[in-house]
């Protein structure tokens, strides 16, 4: 007798790999379907859920983290299970999941940074911005990183939201940071920081900078850092002016206006100085002779219009040298290939069509495997952008189910999955466990007037759970 998959007698069993926003949005869309009964098991290599909302979003941006309330509602479904601390490809393999689930969705994000590709990039004192972000947010894998905050001059390459976060954290006072959920060790290190000048470097002009207006405004309102910009660099070039005027892009006009105002500001004697630079690209990091960054060589750029009218930078023959002892690069992110899952090297994503994973040879969908979020389209947009993205993938999943194109697991039972996880990773963290950890963190924070004090190592978390 054939039993239809997606009924109470035989639920559609789905594994979601990655507990970031996209994983929760995918789970939400799956569990909301009124006609198909779905079981969702969510795996994450870390014991804690929420991905970059916990470990990427800056500690002084607590409001953005409220989105986790919506994720907790999804997790409250009796058909949802969380297996935290269980790594795909290590604790559970693709073959394991195929024996247990009808469908698998990869929501693993963009876990690595793009390189600048310039000489000196690997000198001591040059770091990916993501490492610094993961460190100050208490990511268990990055808590032991060290950054030389005794340096007085720091360059942050890139003008996206991560770059803006990094300069803010570098410029904030210990008092400002002490009211956030920044990792305790990072707060201590930043308390001793001797950083005085922070340079934010954009390769294009002010109109093309990716940071948003609220982010730009925040940079101008720092308690103990004066912001400044170079007047010529924040004037709109003729090409940008035409582009902004024809598209009636008020937000960009406003952004440029704010930046021009920063360029006119006189220093007010604050202890730190934040310098916004535009139309410059690093071409080399210069060593102090002992393998440490001592300076950065910059080339001045000019803009040109591509055939669609988009403005891109082109190097000129004018160079300058910027003495800096610490460099953070934030020039883009890339997905990391998953063991056994086809990868598209050109775009740094899983090879997919609207979320259906494709066979690299035939370019046809592989039954039962999907991707959503940054690992599907690349690192772009805000947290909420992943909601329609996940919806598109889930739509494909239900279409395929209706056609009968799903995996044929030998043990499609929740108990079988749990037994396997228990065997491979006895210390896995369930959602109930996580809610306990959350309460502990929030209670620790309450005592200090902070949103929470994070547990930052897996051992600490397991100990807090009495293991």
């Amino acid at each position: 007798m054939t039993v239809t998959t997606g009924t109470p007698a035989r639920p559609l069993r789905v594994a979601i790999v990655g507990a970031g926003p996209t994983g929760f949005y995918a789970a939400d869309h799956l569990l909301r379907n009124p006609t198909v009964v779905v079981d969702v098991d969510m795996f994450d290599r870390l014991p804690t859920p929420y991905g970059l909302v916990r470990l990427g979003v800056a500690p002084d941006h607590q409001k953005i983290k409220f989105v986790t309330n919506a994720f907790d509602k999804v997790a409250a479904s009796p058909r949802f299970r969380f297996y935290g601390g269980v790594e795909f490809g290590k604790d559970v393999t693709l073959a394991d999941l195929k024996a247990l689930y009808h469908q698998i969705v990869y929501c693993t994000g963009a876990q690595t940074d793009r390189r600048m590709g310039i000489p000196g990039e690997d000198l001591t004192g040059s770091h990916p911005a993501t490492e610094f972000v993961a460190w100050y947010n208490g990511h268990p894998d990055y808590r032991d990183c060290a950054f030389d905050l005794s340096q007085e001059s720091v360059a942050v390459v890139g003008v996206g939201n991560v770059a803006a976060d990094v300069v803010r954290i570098l410029c904030r006072t210990p008092e400002e940071l002490a009211t956030t959920d920044i990792a305790d060790y990072a707060l201590e290190a930043l308390r001793k920081s001797r950083v005085r000048d922070v340079y934010l470097l954009g390769r294009r002009g002010p109109a093309q900078a990716a940071f948003t207006n609220p982010e730009v405004r925040e940079l101008g309102e720092l308690a103990d850092a004066d912001i400044t910009a170079i007047p010529q660099e924040v004037e709109l070039d003729p090409l940008s002016r035409v582009a902004v005027e024809r598209s009636q892009d008020r937000a960009t006009l406003k952004k440029v206006e704010m930046l021009r105002e920063y360029a006119r500001r006189a220093p007010t004697g604050k202890s730190r100085r934040l310098v916004l630079r535009f139309l410059v690209s690093p071409v080399e990091l210069i060593s102090d002779g002992a393998g440490r960054v001592a300076a950065m060589r910059l080339v001045r750029n000019e803009l040109y219009a591509t055939s669609t009218g988009a403005l891109q930078p082109r190097a000129t023959d004018r160079f300058e040298e910027l003495p800096v002892g610490l460099v953070f690069r934030s020039v883009g992110y890339r997905g990391v290939p998953l063991p056994g899952v086809p990868f598209n090297e050109s775009w740094g994503v899983i090879l997919n069509d609207k979320g259906r994973v494709l066979d690299p040879d035939t370019k046809l969908p592989i039954v039962g495997e999907y991707a959503a979020g940054w690992i599907k389209r690349g690192p772009t947009g805000v947290i909420g952008t992943n909601k329609p993205d996940a919806a598109e993938t889930v739509e494909c999943m239900f279409e395929d189910l209706a056609r009968g194109a799903v995996l044929e697991p030998t043990r499609p039972e929740a108990a079988a999955a749990e037994a396997l996880v228990r065997q491979r990773q006895p210390n896995y963290v369930s959602y109930t466990d996580w809610l306990k950890l959350n309460e502990i963190e929030v209670a620790r924070g309450r005592a200090q007037g902070r949103p929470r004090v994070k547990l930052t190592s897996v051992e600490e978390m397991l100990a807090a759970l009495g293991r």
Partner: protein, 147 residues
């Protein structure tokens, strides 16, 4: 958001033809792939674009259009995009110049094609996402509980 983000979730490469191929063959490709335009290539360099409109225009006045070649009917002056081109500009150019299909070229080599539908969908998702995120933050400001 840029063109690369659209190509990333479009598994298939652009469908290509050679200028010497017949319109009959081109129609078969359009039908088989359920698409609206083909890129004519020489090697991996785009030399023209053939849209369903080009074919309809010819069919309306020439009963024997099937036998003509792609090279006869294609548009040779092709506007191409590059992977880092931002979607706001691309959307403007495509709507203003009434371009429905944009071949994407990276260092002279064809790497894909985006349609106006792809661009508008990406923009819609982008705005939806921003609205969603802003609403969450506004609601959070109204005394929600942090977690």
């Amino acid at each position: 958001m840029n063109i690369a983000n659209i190509l990333a979730r479009k598994g298939s490469m652009a469908v290509t033809v050679h200028p010497e191929q017949s319109i009959r063959e081109a129609l078969a490709l359009l039908e088989r792939h359920n698409i609206g335009a083909l890129i004519a290539v020489q090697g991996d360099r785009p030399v023209g674009i053939l849209s369903e409109r080009d074919i309809v225009r010819e069919a309306a006045r020439n009963e024997s259009f099937f036998a003509r070649t792609v090279g006869d009917l294609m548009t040779r002056d092709v506007i191409t995009g590059q992977p880092p081109d931002d979607l706001l500009t691309v959307a403007y150019t495509m709507t203003e110049r009434r371009i429905r299909h944009l071949p994407v070229v990276d260092q002279g080599r064809l790497v894909g094609m985006v349609s106006i539908g792809d661009v508008l969908k990406a923009q819609r998702d982008h705005y939806q996402g921003e609205v969603d995120t802003l609403q969450t933050q506004l609601l959070a400001g109204e005394g929600g509980q942090t977690r």
